[in-house]
C-alpha cells in the first residue's frame, strides 16, 4: 500500500461533497423542526453531545478497522472475529459513556430544575444514546468492510459517511425518546 494525493482526492472528493450537501440541507431541515420538537433547553444541549460522541466513537472504530484491514489483522469477511470484536467493544464503550453521562444529567436534574423530571432526562439520554451508538457502530463496521471489499481505502470513506449519518440519527432518536417519554 502506498499513498498518492491524487488517489486520496479522487476517492474522497465525491463523498465529501455529497455529505457536505446533505449537511447543508440537513441544517435547513433541523433548523425548521427544532423549535417544534424541543421545548426544553436541556434537550437542545443534548444534540451536539449525541452527535459528537457518536461521531467520534465511529471515527475511532473506523480508523481501527481500516488499519487492521490494511495490515491484514482483520480478514475482509463479515464473520471475522477480530472485526466483530472491534464493533462490540466500541458499542460497549459508547453505552458506558452515555450511562455515565445519563447519571451525571440525572444528578444535575435532581438538584436544578431543567424543565423535565430527572428520571425523564435519564431515560431520554440513555435511550437516545444507546440507539445512536448501536446504529452508528454497526453502520461504521459495515461501511468500512464494504469500502475495503470495493478496493477503496476505508479511511477515505467511513468518517464522512458515519459523522453525517450520526448527526441525523442523533436528532431523530432524541425526538423519538422525547416523544415516548413525554407523550
Amino acid at each position: 500500500m502506498s499513498y498518492s494525493w491524487r488517489e486520496i482526492f479522487k476517492q474522497s472528493a465525491g463523498i465529501l461533497a455529497l455529505m457536505g450537501f446533505i449537511g447543508v440541507g440537513g441544517g435547513f431541515v433541523l433548523e425548521s423542526i427544532e423549535d417544534q420538537l424541543l421545548d426544553a433547553v436541556v434537550l437542545l444541549f443534548l444534540i451536539p453531545i449525541l452527535n459528537d460522541v457518536g461521531g467520534n466513537l465511529g471515527a475511532v472504530l473506523g480508523a481501527r478497522v481500516s488499519s487492521s484491514l490494511h495490515t491484514g489483522e482483520i480478514s475482509p469477511s463479515f464473520g471475522d472475529s477480530e472485526y466483530k470484536e472491534n464493533i462490540w467493544v466500541m458499542m460497549a464503550l459508547g453505552f458506558l459513556v452515555f450511562f455515565l453521562f445519563g447519571l451525571a444529567m440525572f444528578t444535575v436534574g435532581f438538584f436544578i430544575p431543567l424543565g423535565l423530571e430527572a428520571s425523564e432526562i435519564f431515560i431520554i439520554v440513555i435511550g437516545a444514546g444507546f440507539i445512536t451508538i448501536f446504529s452508528i457502530t454497526l453502520i461504521t463496521g459495515l461501511v468500512a468492510l464494504w469500502a475495503f471489499k470495493k478496493g477503496l481505502d476505508p479511511d477515505n470513506i467511513v468518517i464522512p459517511v458515519e459523522t453525517t449519518l450520526c448527526d441525523f440519527i442523533g436528532v431523530v432518536t432524541l425526538a423519538l425518546m422525547v416523544w415516548l417519554v413525554i407523550m
Binding site: I8, E85, D155, T164
Partner: protein, 194 residues
C-alpha cells in the same frame, strides 16, 4: 484486540470531547453578532465545521493506517506523510469552493433570497477559513499522531476525537476572524452589504 488498551486510551478522550463541545459552543455564542450581520453564514457554519472535522479526522485515520503499515518509519516527512498532506490540502480547497455554491443552490428553493454581495462575502469567508483552518489542523494532526506514537498510544484510539474537537474550536475562531475582516471590507470599504 487489546480491550483494556482501547478503553484506557479512548474513554478519557471521549469524555474530553464533551468538554470541548461546550468550549466550541461558547465560541459560537460569541459570534452571534457576526452571524446576524452576514445572512447565510449561519447556514454553512455547521457544514464547514463538519467538513473540517471530516477531512482532518480522515487524515488522522490514514496516518494511523500508515503507521500500522510501517510507512512512517522515517518520521512524518516520509512519502506517505507528504502525499497525505497534499491530499488533505487539495480536498480542503475543493470543498471550501463548494459551500457557497451549495448555499446558493439551496437558497433558490427557499422563500428568502441571499444577494450576490452577501454570497461573495460568504464565499470569501468560506475559502479563507477552509484553507487557514486546514493548515492549522494538518499541523495538529501530525503533532497528535507523532505524539501518540512517541508515548506508545495507538493513534487510531485518540486522533479522531481530539481532531474533531480541536477542529470545531479552531475552525470557529478562524471563521470569526475572517467574518470580521470580510464584513469590514465589504460593508465599510466597499459599502455593498450591511
Amino acid at each position: 484486540m487489546n480491550k483494556a488498551r482501547v478503553v484506557k486510551e479512548t474513554l478519557p478522550v471521549l469524555l474530553l470531547v464533551v468538554l470541548g463541545g461546550a468550549l466550541a459552543g461558547s465560541v459560537l455564542a460569541g459570534m452571534e453578532e457576526m452571524l446576524d450581520l452576514i445572512p447565510g453564514l449561519i447556514i454553512i457554519v455547521p457544514a464547514i465545521i463538519d467538513m473540517r472535522g471530516n477531512i482532518s479526522t480522515a487524515l488522522g485515520s490514514r496516518l494511523g493506517s500508515a503507521f500500522h503499515l510501517g510507512l512512517l518509519h522515517q518520521g512524518l516527512r516520509s512519502d506517505a506523510g507528504k502525499e497525505n498532506i497534499k491530499g488533505s490540502l487539495a480536498l480542503s480547497f475543493f470543498t471550501s469552493l463548494l459551500f457557497p455554491v451549495f448555499l446558493w443552490l439551496i437558497s433558490l428553493a427557499l422563500p428568502f433570497s441571499i444577494g450576490p454581495w452577501q454570497l461573495l462575502t460568504v464565499f470569501m469567508i468560506s475559502i479563507f477559513t477552509g484553507v487557514t483552518a486546514a493548515l492549522i489542523l494538518i499541523t495538529i494532526t501530525f503533532l497528535i499522531v507523532a505524539g501518540s506514537i512517541k508515548f506508545n498510544i495507538d493513534p487510531d484510539n485518540v486522533s479522531g476525537p481530539v481532531l474533531t474537537t480541536a477542529g470545531d474550536v479552531f475552525t470557529l475562531l478562524v471563521m470569526f476572524g475572517y467574518a470580521h475582516l470580510f464584513y469590514h471590507i465589504f460593508a465599510n470599504v466597499f459599502g455593498v452589504i450591511g
